[in-house]
């Protein structure tokens, strides 16, 4: 049984279609990423799947429960860490967690045990009795993650978990998320617009732009399927011979000879490197150096959307459009 099945989910705000017939499914224990620029519709998808927003049309099943018919059972089985802060800053860290645990009907003894456990996981044990208004941004984020874990959700939604955090905190949060996924087998769905984050954490990634999924695959699958790997060879001898020979291989996409160097775009270079050398030695051509480069997720994104994710958030005009769009999404 899949942890999440989404079928043609659509959300319209007036004329504006924020999510456009999105379908995907997530397996139990999977770490699944929704990657896209701000305003692509990621948060709207999360809000619908966590029962906070009603879809305009489409269906979804989460942890085996139907979104339309059984939202209460869904709420019992999911955890969510929102993009924007959602703590009561007038309470201490422990009080926030207690509130949450009691809302999920966790018995008093179990509550104490689990609160201690999650405090340890996020390293906030010594800050438990401090009012949240005195927490730093990173501490607040960690507290929210701790809170999302208390009721042992089957599916955990993380909406931009590391937005606005420094590199070090980001790293440690990545570690928490990964350990959580491995140790508890929790299915995690996260949205992000950080390429490295998606690449580092996710088993599979759906790239979303303008409310649609434009690609869905494993990070390495996305990279190889869309561009292939790039290998540069420095050739000693007849470059035309080897260029022609390699050009006939089915795993080679493109051959670009340039003086003494030969650039190849190919799939699965790990598997096919030996065959390159084999071909070269059969032809009596020497290879004096070899250089690989894997395409980054960023390259994939540029190829798919025609612009970088940073360009999209960078310019002033787009920032303004972004704000407009976000306002419409509220």
């Amino acid at each position: 049984m899949s942890a999440i099945i989404v079928k043609e989910l659509t959300k319209k705000f007036g004329e504006f279609t924020a999510v456009d017939s999105v379908s995907f499914s997530v397996e139990p224990g999977e770490l699944f990423g929704l990657l896209g620029p701000n305003g692509a519709g990621k948060t709207t998808i999360i809000n619908m799947l966590t029962t906070l927003l009603l879809p305009t049309s489409g269906e979804a099943e989460i942890a085996g429960y139907d979104l339309g018919r059984d939202p209460d059972s869904i709420r019992t089985n999911i955890g969510i860490i929102f993009q924007d802060p959602s703590l009561d800053i007038g309470l201490t860290g422990r009080e926030n967690l207690e509130f949450h645990a009691m809302m999920y009907n966790i018995s008093s003894n179990e509550r104490k045990k689990r609160i201690q456990e999650v405090f340890d996981v996020v390293g906030l044990t010594d800050k438990a009795e401090i009012l949240v208004e005195n927490y730093s941004g990173g501490m607040k984020r960690r507290l929210e993650i701790a809170r999302g874990l208390i009721h042992y959700p089957k599916v955990l939604f993380l909406d931009e978990p590391t937005l606005g955090l420094d590199a070090q905190t980001r790293r440690s949060i990545w570690e928490y998320i990964r350990n959580l996924n491995r140790n508890y087998g929790t299915c995690v769905i996260l949205t992000t617009h950080y390429m490295e984050e998606a690449d580092f954490l996710c088993d599979r990634i759906a790239i979303i732009d303008h409310g649609k999924i434009i690609a869905l695959d494993t990070p390495s699958g996305l990279k190889s399927r869309l561009l292939g790997d790039c290998v540069s060879l420095t050739i000693e001898g007849r470059i035309d011979l080897i260029a022609t020979a390699l050009g006939e291989k089915e795993w080679v996409r493109e051959v670009i000879p340039d003086g003494k160097t030969l650039d190849l775009i190919l799939s699965d270079y790990e598997k096919n490197i030996p065959e390159i050398f084999q071909t070269a030695s059969n032809l009596g051509v020497g290879i004096s150096s070899i250089n690989f480069s894997k395409p980054s997720l960023e390259d994939v994104f540029i190829r798919l959307t025609g612009s970088t994710i940073r360009e999209q958030e960078g310019s002033r005009k787009s920032v303004r459009q972004e704000r407009m769009r976000r306002r419409m999404l509220r």
Binding site: T50, T51, I78, F82, D88, M103
Partner: protein
């Protein structure tokens, strides 16, 4: 489906926050305390038509000011919902498996308790200023009335908070609603002294019956019968709870 545990958790949170922020207590009591002192002391000697001479104006005023305290603290309870909305905490509440009606009842129980605490502080203050308190069972009975009054006005605030998003909008609208309700209720003077057209309006004001019930219990003087007052208050509170849980179910809380 009403979940007692959810109501308790929300109530407990309200209590923790109420007793932690002392300035909130002082701030909310300031206004009725001034009314009590200046209006009460200043008009102490005045004789109102329609008021038995045995009951002085100060005796008459105290239940009115208690009603006022309840009205304003209760109506402003919606403000904390707006704050929770702005700080994002409401999302956290709404995404838990708690039923909407339990969430609404939890919010009501918390705010009702704080309103009643405020009202009791005012009552205590009035005793210090010379208010003659009835027997203890009457005081306890008056607390039931206080609960009903605050319930009605908390729900007005809650409904409003489900429709609005910002502080300024909320406080403008709630003032616009609360002041006429206060002035029409007969908290300061007998409603019978108002000209007929305005007096009719006061019969549509729930606080009229609340203040009248409090007077009946605390000073033994009321215009309508206590049974009638209580039935009106009870009916209204039930209707208001239904209305606000309907609005909370309908509203998109993000």
């Amino acid at each position: 489906m009403i979940q007692a545990r959810v109501i308790y958790v929300l109530w407990r949170r309200e209590m923790i926050k109420y007793f932690r922020v002392r300035s909130r207590i002082a701030g909310a009591i300031g206004m009725p305390a001034f009314m009590l002192i200046f209006q009460g002391m200043g008009f102490r000697k005045v004789e109102f038509p329609g008021l038995p001479a045995s009951i002085g104006y100060f005796q008459y005023l105290v239940p009115g000011i208690i009603g006022m305290t309840l009205l304003f603290t209760a109506a402003y309870a919606g403000m904390s919902v707006i704050m929770d909305k702005q700080f994002g905490f409401l999302k956290e509440v709404m995404v838990t498996p708690a039923s909407r009606i339990s969430i609404v009842l939890g919010m009501i129980s918390g705010s009702a308790t704080t309103s009643i605490i405020q009202a009791l502080i005012i009552m205590l203050m009035s005793v210090l200023l010379g208010f003659r308190l009835p027997l203890i069972h009457a005081v306890l009975f008056s607390i039931v009335i206080m609960a009903l009054i605050s319930m009605i006005f908390i729900n007005i605030g809650l409904i409003l908070s489900s429709l609005l998003k910002d502080f300024h909008g909320f406080s403008t609208v709630i003032n616009f609603i609360a002041f006429p309700l206060f002035l029409l209720s007969g908290a300061l003077f007998p409603v019978s002294n108002l000209p007929a057209p305005i007096r009719i309006l006061s019969y549509f004001d729930p606080l009229t019956y609340g203040v009248d019930a409090l007077r009946g219990i605390l000073i033994g003087h009321c215009e309508f019968s206590i049974v009638m007052n209580i039935s009106i208050l009870l009916t209204l509170s039930v209707l208001m709870v239904c209305a606000s849980s309907y609005f909370f179910r309908k509203a998109e809380m993000i």
